[in-house]
Symmetry: C2
Subunit: 386 residues, 2 copies
């Protein structure tokens, strides 16, 4: 087990009807900016519940934050925060709204030239204005971590920022929101959270027995509840386990003491930036090829995964490892998610080269758990994903 430092101060309010407890978490007299996305919260009742819970506060609204939260939109919200002297942000939405709010939390206190620098500087964000979240779409885990990914369409960039300054103060997780989420987004949430765990687990053995079991616990739970979530999203038992699994998949716990890969996300982000493909689906495109390409380096963990999560109990290490990759691809298919780039766009013949060039421009000369995945490797992996 590697050394680690771990702290996660976010307060979680989980379960039916928890939205009404919001006000206990926000200082009286706060002037709140409530941020949300395309307006689904107005159709599913969440908007009304939040407004009712905040009846005693002054609340200004900022809707329209798009998926893959867009820098230019966020700059408009930043203007509102400053002009209106907002002192608390409340994100009501999924990972995009929450990530956008994290950016704003940091940007509101940022004193450098332009807040985009926070995304290119590769420095931890140490302070942000206070914010909370009401999660409406389980997937990214952003509700209980200190990372955010922001998109800037004008330059086709999608970059991450993180640091202890942008943990939510609290997050409200009510699994009853799941019943009104479209199937496509449920599938994305299942695939996204599943991949988050794999990025922290399919690396190489480091003797972190407990962390391995925890990672397998989340994977097993997602596999177990996925068919029910897809068939009957109003099943509370499946919904609640799905929601808590998404949070636990990326709240820092399972990454402690173990190496992380994250190359699938690195390559996947490029596919979203280039073609606007849903984030989760870019992961499903890249992941199988990435594991096949790095088969030797990852086969021990792949075989363990196949045994413990998919009950593959016969065969050599190599056969089990291969079965683990195949089972993963099958799982994505079972969610209705296609795993080849050519199934999403016709314009893919140069994608490997483009991604490789972008990695080079960005100085990403060695990523992954060994720090050895080069732009040339990324090119080959993307080409295997066509």
């Amino acid at each position: 087990m590697n050394n680690f430092q771990f702290k996660n101060p976010t307060s979680i309010l989980f379960g039916k009807g928890q939205i009404k407890n919001l006000s206990a978490e926000i200082k009286k007299e706060s002037k709140i900016l409530m941020l949300y996305g395309g307006g689904s919260i107005k159709r599913n009742g969440v908007y009304d519940q939040v407004k009712e819970a905040l009846a005693d506060y002054e609340v200004i609204e900022f809707g329209g934050i798009p998926s893959n939260p867009e820098y230019s939109t966020l700059l408009e919200a930043l203007k509102v925060i400053k002009e209106q002297h907002i002192d608390f942000l409340l994100a009501v939405g999924g990972g995009s709204v929450i990530d956008g709010t994290k950016f704003l939390s940091a940007a509101a206190l940022y004193t450098g030239d332009t807040p985009w620098d926070m995304l290119t500087a590769n420095k931890p964000i140490t302070e942000g204005m206070p914010f909370g979240t009401v999660l409406t779409l389980p997937a990214t885990g952003s509700e209980m971590n200190s990372g955010a990914v922001i998109t800037r369409r004008e330059i086709k960039e999608k970059l991450a920022m993180m640091g202890p300054g942008i943990f939510p103060q609290f997050s409200v997780l009510d699994p009853e929101v799941i019943k009104s989420i479209p199937l496509r987004q449920l599938a994305n949430g299942l695939a996204d959270s599943f991949t988050h765990v794999l990025e922290q687990y399919i690396t190489y053995p480091t003797g972190a027995i407990l962390q391995d079991h925890f990672a397998e616990s989340i994977l097993q739970t997602i596999v177990e509840v996925a068919p029910t979530v897809m068939k009957d999203p109003s099943d509370y038992q499946a919904a609640s386990n799905f929601m808590w699994s998404c949070t636990m998949a990326l709240n820092g716990l399972i990454q402690q003491g173990v190496p992380g890969d994250w190359a699938v996300h690195g390559m996947g982000h490029e596919l979203t930036a280039l073609y606007g493909i849903d984030h989760a689906r870019t992961l499903a495109i890249v992941l199988p090829s990435h594991y096949r390409y790095h088969f030797e380096a990852k086969k021990l963990k792949l075989a363990q995964y196949a045994e413990r999560v998919w009950n593959v109990n016969t065969g050599t290490i190599e056969e089990k490892a291969k079965a683990g990759i195949d089972k993963t691809e099958d799982f994505f298919h079972s969610l209705g998610i296609k795993t080849k780039l050519s199934e999403y766009t016709d314009d893919y013949s140069e994608t490997g080269t483009i991604v490789s060039d972008r990695f080079t421009q960005r100085g990403w000369l060695g990523i992954g758990e060994h720090g050895t995945l080069t732009p040339a490797d990324a090119k080959k992996i993307i080409e295997m994903s066509y």
Copy 2:
């Protein structure tokens, strides 16, 4: 899954050599009271490492906190805190030193008549003075939770206090301390942490699939590493997984959304108060009888536990459940821990009645996950443990 609220703000510094990073966690100019137990830290090198890390602070020492931290000793430390205007407490020890420090953290700010009232009032502790810990004995999980158990010998009482005010600000967990821990205490730590998980897991099914898997993960890990920890405590891989398992067993995570039992602890504390038996050993005495007595109510979870942790794959629910209890008792025996009260004292013939009377006096008329375990039940369970 039941509704829950979860927050754990303790910062963890885990791994080899982390003690030297202590000073980054404590405000400059703090006047520190360093608390410890019987002096083992002076023999194993931890004392020197801590003093070196705190070279730039004014540090006053208070040693001699006994296992089952004693109220009268703690009152002496409280006097030092007040007279010396201490503003940070550092516990260097195991659960007893840490629990004692939590008591002091709260007592230093307590404005009621006598700090013992905090233990009898059954009210959450909402504020305490800041403190951190350097863990030297993995077992209780106190290093990452907000509970403490204090003993008062003059009235043979052992009572708990808890609340968000007494989370450690940070805890340093260096698994290298394990190599110098006596075998008896290693066995206690393994049995204690194992029982902590069972108290939160062997109840009744609530559809909390992920929490069940997490609980099983900790149990599996403890079972896997226990033989190595007992045979070669200097094995870092086993030691680190043991240490992190103890913390995860009682840092709040696995209890979210599920019922808790804790009757084994309720009865076990009485045996320590009455006979001075090591805490972990009292749990090993009470637990098998408690599960046999409540077999019908607990058999579904017992059978699941037998299957998933002990690989008992054949037989009826009842047969599996019974095997689960037997395997647990065998596990305690494998650690050299006896599981009958008569193996610890000759003076046991009235113990059932005494424990029952004490439960009644205390108003504990219904405990356990259903709130139905009466003093009369406790009498029978204790008698089954003779």
